[in-house]
Symmetry: C2
Subunit: 405 residues, 2 copies
Amino acid sequence: RLNWSRLRARLDALGRVGALEGGGVCRLALTPEDKAGRDLVAGWMRELGLHVSIDAIGNIIGVRSGLEDGPPVMTGSHIDTVRTGGLYDGTLGVLAGLEVVAALNDAGVTTRRPLAVGVFTNEEGARFAPDMMGSLVYVGGLALAEALATEGMDGQTVGDALAATGYAGPAPVAAPAVHAFVELHIEQGPVLEEQAIAIGAVEGVQGISWTEVTVEGTSNHAGTTPMRLRRDAGYVATATAAFMRDLARRMGGDQVATVGSLALTPNLINVVPGRARFTLDLRNTDEGLLQETERAAFAEIDRLAAAESCSVTRRSLARFEPVAFDPAMVDRVEAAARARGLSVRRMPSGAGHDAQMMARVCPTGMIFVPSAGGISHNVTEHTDDVHLQAGAAVLLDLLVDLAMP
Amino acid sequence: RLNWSRLRARLDALGRVGALEGGGVCRLALTPEDKAGRDLVAGWMRELGLHVSIDAIGNIIGVRSGLEDGPPVMTGSHIDTVRTGGLYDGTLGVLAGLEVVAALNDAGVTTRRPLAVGVFTNEEGARFAPDMMGSLVYVGGLALAEALATEGMDGQTVGDALAATGYAGPAPVAAPAVHAFVELHIEQGPVLEEQAIAIGAVEGVQGISWTEVTVEGTSNHAGTTPMRLRRDAGYVATATAAFMRDLARRMGGDQVATVGSLALTPNLINVVPGRARFTLDLRNTDEGLLQETERAAFAEIDRLAAAESCSVTRRSLARFEPVAFDPAMVDRVEAAARARGLSVRRMPSGAGHDAQMMARVCPTGMIFVPSAGGISHNVTEHTDDVHLQAGAAVLLDLLVDLAMP
Ligand SMILES: NC(=O)NCCC(=O)O
Ligand SMILES: NC(=O)NCCC(=O)O
């Protein structure tokens, strides 16, 4: 029923928007590349006869009418990427949603409830924090004005970047009435592939803590300044990064800790860094453990700064507690996979997803498909066609099941 | 005899070339700012009646004839700065040299030997490694072609940057015949100020080891990638930086170690860094200890890379053994300071200087004046006028003494 070759062709077509030399894509949120991708997807939505609305944070929602008015069954994801992203993170969920609509169109089926496909703004958080910004605003978890005022790492605000793309829509952003939400996504981790399982029935999303740390010391000459007289901001930053990796390893379980971004000033070979700015990404499925890790991180930063006579400021960029999806929705995903004869397991999500925001306003579930080598946020991100097809088929079954009865 | 107010005015005038908002200067080697500074200084040289020649690596040499032909007595330094530099590092030595010439002109004195003032290209090494490049090429320690092919951190080569400034001169670069070389420079460290001493008689320059390290891992998702499966290039870089600072502290003595420059790729909050590049600046007055530190650093980098399944490449950017100045020249500096009634002490230099290259071809000495707070390579770099005057006076006496007899 699903037009697989078109799904494949469109994944590839979006992969050419912001394509990087040597593979992968850079389609950071609200850049010209993101706009070009949005134009493509919005065009495909209109071709399918969807009623397309764009809201004030730039979320694109395409709705297919049902026999009855009322809250739609919704699917969707995002099309923004990190700077060195792959073809599937986000786009799979959007494009598979459109193929479900196309299959219903082709079959001449009208569901009882309306069906909606959403493209959420700035899910990655790679340009503007927090991540999942569009869906967070959509469900009322972040004020529109606050989101629009957010400065990206390049200094432009969400509001200005959004205006530049032409996707600052007229639709008001209000906590929507949605019957249920299902998101298809690549796992982005190694579990399904390692265990040779086709489908993940996602039980929830681990807690996410993002902090930006700025350390102020004194830039000075690398040759003449004795170690004891240094106020080396770079030392505080780098020692923190090393400590966090070691701490997360020691803690074990599913604790992860990442210093992904780090900048020294003036960043010269023979100058002791007078300033360092870095980010800390901490995650755990357990809120208590996540708080413990945060406390340990902040205490170590303060200890190192004191030892190096530096001052420190911290800014929270995102903080989401672990989310548990509606157990009935997890059951449904599992049952739908089984019904297709696919191997399936329940699992948490290591990555953040728009679904975790939608879970605040309606029963929500997620379908994971394997990621080759557990690689994502990398230009070599890959999922075999057979898994993409299986995931799309389960999505189709679930959406129809939710929209029909 | 010295025109102090003009020296002060010219230090300030050069400070306006590449001035940073809020103080300090950015006059990186062979940038338009460096060219503007060169134009000023070369103009002042011509006003003084010096015979100005510019060689193929861009060194500017102004010569004042003596009663006899033959090897000149030479002074000079550099006018390039680091990205966040001060007003005195390098410029003091050049401008004080010009005031010595002016004083002789005013007094109608012709020395026996010619007198030369040199402005050496790219002493800082902040844009192109190695540092002291112009003087190194001048004394035949680095082939001209190799120097011109050197790529800066912005990707431009020395040759292209030099051509753009118009300072790729016609004069051949050949090991010059110089009678003696004396450089006046700010200490850039805390010793003279801490001990309330006016003049440092520099005995030598500590050894310098500059290495660029590139670590290759795998960029991956910060939320989904378990710690045990990471190939975190950022960890190898940051753990090395922290290790080096701790090692240098443990070693004590005058060992210093600095990671001044560090770049992660893709440098995003939620991506495990797939690549890291950083620099290592190691210095010691003792060559054996410096080699020990290098060995410890490289072993630790290899150990960390193996633990994180990353690969590493190292590139030497500069390697200079400790330099001892001619003892007779050190004595002369000490005696000249005493004769002026100034407090003086013998000391090593923590920073690299053009004088250390000149020491390869002639008897060489250096005069240090105190740096307030030991701060340099910083926009707040400062030396009190009384110390600047004292240093210039000692320089005058020494140059006359060397050029007259
Ligand atoms: N799915 C995904 O990559 N989301 C980006 C936000 C995160 O870092 O988890
Ligand atoms: N004097 C000075 O700052 N030289 C720059 C080269 C170095 O890093 O020592």
